[in-house]
Amino acid sequence: MHEWALAEAVVSTVSQIAIREGLRRVTEVRLKVGELQQIEIEILRFALSELKRSSLLEEAEFIIETEKAELRCRVCGHKWFFRRNEVDEDVAEAIHFVPEIAHAYIRCPRCGSPDFEVVRGRGVWLESVEGVK
């Protein structure tokens, strides 16, 4: 599972932020996880709990919210939500690694265009970092 790699990215970014803001320890980290990428939250959570050991994040609580993946067609303006059960297993797997590859498989349900944007719910995003100085 490459959730581990994403967890490392989160821990690395939070550490940088903590150092920049002069935090002695991080108490709370809020994450948004977009549904397009179909991250396995439990694996992400496990990886975070392993990776935070003996770091500034040791005592941090991770609050993870999922966000629906909203797509908007640039041709006709139609908005819709990505649903995993509407694509094949292979396609979901590919999008799991590289969300942009959605453009190779998904089409606007109204006009058939591959020219859509991911309005929200693409990948892993840091919402806030709290700690004590």
């Binding site: 790699a5 990215a9 970014t13 690694f97 942009e100 190779a104 020219d115 990948g123 892993v124 995003w125």
Partner: protein
């Protein structure tokens, strides 16, 4: 608040000694063939080499190397498969033959994602096959991969060199290391490109003749390595290894 992927990229490339971005600005000058053959040549010399194809809407190196029967594995991230001894990574493992119409913002996002999750491990040279244009991919390499060295490919044509001149002037202005310029598909004697390159204060690495047998060797690495093209690229590889590792 923040995209966590960007800060991990440096970490992912920590054990990569040199990043070589094979670029041009111009399309069709031989970037993909040179990137592929250069990677093979460096691996042949005993270096640990990665090859990363980031021409996402027009990937080519998998055809040159016939790399479709393998695939990346997952292990705390993505481990590139081995192709003829190279650690090889391409978006084709996810697009599998489908057209990928990607706007620049998508190219940028896909590049950041793959840089953030791919584990290259101990690597002497990571060769990057760049797309044409002076856009998202070039700007992101400059922005995100601080250790990138640019290897610039041109043909003898005025049309190719005009764009190469622009790319090179941008890299010079940004103080990005340029290994030098290769003149590919040379058909007749002419000092034009070498003169222009040297006038810009850049190193002219050498020329590669037009090789009529090259097309047949695409997809057959053994054949490719026996071409006169590959012979010239091997000489350049020697020069490039000496020059970049000597830094």
């Amino acid at each position: 608040m923040a995209d966590p992927r960007v800060s991990v990229i440096e970490d992912r490339l920590k054990k990569v000694n040199k990043v070589l971005s094979v670029s041009s600005g111009k399309g069709g000058v031989g970037k993909s063939l040179i990137a592929s053959t250069l990677s093979l040549a460096l691996a042949d010399k005993g270096y640990e080499v990665g090859l990363f194809d980031i021409d996402f809407t027009n990937p080519s190196t998998h055809i040159i190397l016939n790399a479709e029967s393998v695939s990346p594995t997952e292990e705390n991230g993505v481990i590139p498969p081995r192709v003829r001894g190279l650690k090889y990574m391409s978006i084709i493992y996810y697009s599998s033959g489908h057209v990928s119409p990607l706007r620049g913002v998508d190219v940028s996002n896909a590049l950041i994602e793959l840089l953030a999750i791919t584990r290259w491990g101990e690597t002497d040279f990571l060769v990057i096959d760049m797309p044409p244009g002076i856009g998202d991919a070039v700007l992101d390499m400059i922005r995100l991969v601080k250790k990138a060295n640019f290897l610039v490919v041109t043909t003898p044509s005025k049309l190719a060199f005009e764009t190469v001149r622009k790319l090179a002037s941008l890299l010079l202005e940004m103080r990005i290391p340029i290994i030098g310029v290769i003149e590919n598909m040379k058909m007749r004697e002419s000092p034009f490109i070498q003169e222009q390159v040297e006038k810009m204060g850049l190193r002219f690495l050498g020329e590669i003749p037009f090789d009529y047998s090259l097309e047949e060797a695409i997809g057959d690495v053994n054949k490719l390595l026996k071409t006169m093209f590959a012979q010239k690229v091997k000489e350049l590889a020697e020069k490039i290894a000496l020059q970049t590792l000597g830094d």
